[in-house]
């Protein structure tokens, strides 16, 4: 972590702190204030965009902990989001539990399911683990879709009762904006703190070389399962928020494609860095919107192409961007951002 020139660390606290200089502290506070005031001048389209982006970011933070910090490849993350979403929706619909209970229950439920499907990670890794998580994706979605249509609404959809916190019913984009914003900040803070603790260090050791980590005394069994639990807990929280926000969930929202996209967003943003999900989610979602808007325009210019251009563009752009990032920027945008900051600080000696 490079400090600007003239700033020296003389105590352990100073060395470990995240926001070291006054400029960083003011920057962070200013950014949060901007976010809080955004609904006053932003219009609804942006609120819708940011709400769905923020929920995705929470899920991505979870995936980051699992795949970025701990190195366990998981391409089934959408299914764990579904567990959280359906879990909290069913608890609210069948047992009338309030939102502040269903949210953590959804998260813990997803975490436990993640734990069960994370058991293969003790025996297999790499590609085989990726396949096991893909299988988890299909099996979980099957369980949600088919055997219990009365409880889960089957393949059609499940209606989520409107949520209220402390007697105040949330039914407006702006209400959800604040709720989701608060949750995102909370979960990001939690991630950062967790990864700076001994748990985070154990995860990174496992990622780098798990056999060596075990030789050094890290209990692989415990920490791998913990990574799955925490990562899927985040996914469950994101899923519960998503269910509360959209009020109708169906199994089509949580497919394998969603999982692959989440992993892609994370790679584009940067694995193993708390900023990664923000950058990745933002870039990919912004590109999606551009494609959706550009699609009909291109269709008007070149009618032979047909209206499917918007969907085709979304996929092609995603695939192309991901390939380009993997080849040229494998450590993602977060890494680029660090280099940018460094080169600014070292100017004119940056290289």
């Amino acid at each position: 972590m490079r400090r600007p020139s003239g700033v020296f660390d003389v105590s352990y606290i100073q060395d470990m702190t995240v926001f070291r200089t006054r400029a960083q502290k003011i920057g962070m506070l200013g950014f949060i204030v901007l976010l809080l005031l955004f609904p006053l001048f932003g219009d609804e389209y942006w609120l819708v965009f940011i709400n769905s982006l923020a929920v995705t970011i929470i899920a991505l933070q979870g995936l980051n902990i699992l795949a970025g910090y701990c190195g366990q490849i998981s391409i089934g993350h959408s299914a764990f989001m579904a567990v959280g979403a359906y879990g909290s929706a069913i608890l609210a619909a069948q047992f009338n539990l309030p939102f502040w209970l269903t949210l953590p229950c959804g998260g813990i439920g997803a975490g436990l399911v993640g734990l069960v499907f994370g058991l293969p990670s003790l025996r297999i890794k790499g590609f085989y683990l990726a396949l096991a998580t893909i299988a988890a994706q299909f099996i979980i979605m099957y369980i949600i879709r088919t055997p219990f249509p009365d409880i889960t609404g089957g393949p059609i959809a499940l209606h989520v009762p409107p949520i209220s916190l402390a007697g105040f019913t949330l039914d407006n984009e702006i209400h959800f904006y604040y709720l989701i914003l608060g949750m995102t900040l909370l979960m990001t803070f939690f991630t950062k703190s967790l990864m700076r603790s001994h748990i985070g260090r154990a995860f990174v050791a496992i990622r780098d070389n798990d056999i060596a980590a075990e030789a050094m005394g890290i209990n692989l069994y415990r920490y791998k399962l913990l990574a799955f639990f925490i990562g899927c807990f985040y996914a469950g929280v994101a899923g519960s928020l998503w269910a509360a926000y959209t009020k109708v969930i169906s199994p089509d929202d949580f497919t394998l494609m969603n999982s692959i996209w989440q992993m892609g967003m994370l790679i584009v943003g940067g694995l193993g860095s708390t900023l990664g999900p923000f950058f990745g989610g933002l870039l990919i979602k912004a590109l999606n919107e551009i494609c959706l808007i550009a699609g009909p325009m291109i269709d008007n210019l070149i009618p032979q192409i047909g209206a499917q251009i918007s969907a085709a563009l979304v996929e092609m752009v995603f695939g192309a961007v991901l390939v380009l990032f993997l080849v040229y920027l494998p450590r993602g945008l977060a890494h680029r951002w660090e280099i940018l900051k460094d080169s600014y600080r070292l100017w004119p000696f940056s290289y």
């Binding site: 590609f127 085989y128 030789a215 085709a312 563009l313 092609m316 695939g319 390939v323 993997l326 080849v327």
Partner: protein, 291 residues
């Protein structure tokens, strides 16, 4: 009893199709240690491309199909140069995700070019007749399929075992440095393996598309083919075919006796079971990892 026999025959023939797709997957893994998640999409694009020549431009079979094979072979060859050569030596996650990115890209491309054609299928090569083998009705197309796939697999195994190119590919897969010190151009071997895998996928796409018509769903079958390859072991062609047959049988038997949509998820359950008990598959080679 008839029902069981019927289900078994259908399961084997369907499983062979999965096996053929799995063979393409194993081919790439054997030669370059890359897990090709884009296998399904390659089959789909191969099917669409051959349909474009055979169905849209009405070329005769002997001209259209080889043309499609040549084009996909060239595309496969060039795929090595751009995304895969920089990926040599990268962590496994990058390799998996890059093939997935290519899969998504190919899917988008197929949508762009061919979404306007629905309900398309190949012009008939052999008129379809229902034969009765041991009193069980089965289509002659599926029987032809059976034999074609067997021939193809035998040819591929022979190719890998006895020809120089095949030997070079196997050597490159095992160790790049040693192969290069023996004078083998590793990059060319990898490119050749991709080209052959792309051609096998096109043939698979043609056979599959012939039976059930061509549409975007061919890509979904790809994932089942990967599961089949895993069950059989990633290093062997026999394993790929055996894995395909096992999964085909599992599907039809579940569909016939249990039903309730379990049929769709059973390939993955089988795969997870195999992953637990024999992670390297039934015919695969075990890898021992040292620190």
């Amino acid at each position: 009893m008839i029902k069981l026999a019927q289900l078994i025959m259908i399961g084997i023939t369907v499983g062979l199709i999965y096996g053929l797709m799995a063979v393409g997957f194993v081919l790439i893994y054997k030669s370059s240690k890359i897990f090709n998640f884009a296998q399904g999409e390659m089959v789909m694009v191969g099917a669409f491309l051959s349909w474009t020549f055979l169905g849209l431009f009405h070329m005769p079979l002997v001209l259209g199909l080889p043309l499609a094979l040549v084009i996909t072979g060239l595309v496969g060859y060039s795929l090595e140069r751009f995304p895969f050569r920089p990926m040599i030596g990268q962590p496994i996650l990058a390799i998996i995700m890059i093939t997935m990115a290519i899969a998504v890209f190919l899917r988008g491309l197929a949508i762009l070019i061919w979404a306007n054609y629905i309900g398309i299928q190949f012009p008939t090569v052999i008129p379809e007749k229902t034969l009765k083998i041991f009193d069980i009705p089965i289509s002659n197309v599926l029987i032809c399929n059976f034999f074609l796939v067997l021939v193809l697999v035998i040819l591929l195994s022979l190719f890998f075992q006895y020809t120089r190119i095949g030997l070079h590919m196997r050597a490159a897969a095992e160790s790049h440095i040693l192969s290069q010190s023996m004078g083998i151009r590793v990059t060319r071997s990898i490119a050749q393996s991709w080209a052959i895998a792309a051609m096998v996928s096109t043939v698979g796409g043609f056979l599959l598309g012939y039976i059930r018509g061509i549409d975007f769903g061919l890509a979904e079958t790809g994932l089942i083919a990967i599961a089949a390859a895993l069950v059989g072991g990633l290093e062997s062609f026999k394993g790929a075919i055996a894995g395909g047959i096992i999964i085909g049988l599992a599907e039809t038997l579940t569909g016939g006796y249990i039903g309730h949509g379990l049929r769709e998820v059973i390939p993955y359950i089988v795969m997870v079971a195999v992953l637990f008990y024999r992670p390297y598959g039934l015919f695969g080679l075990e890898e021992i990892e040292r620190v």
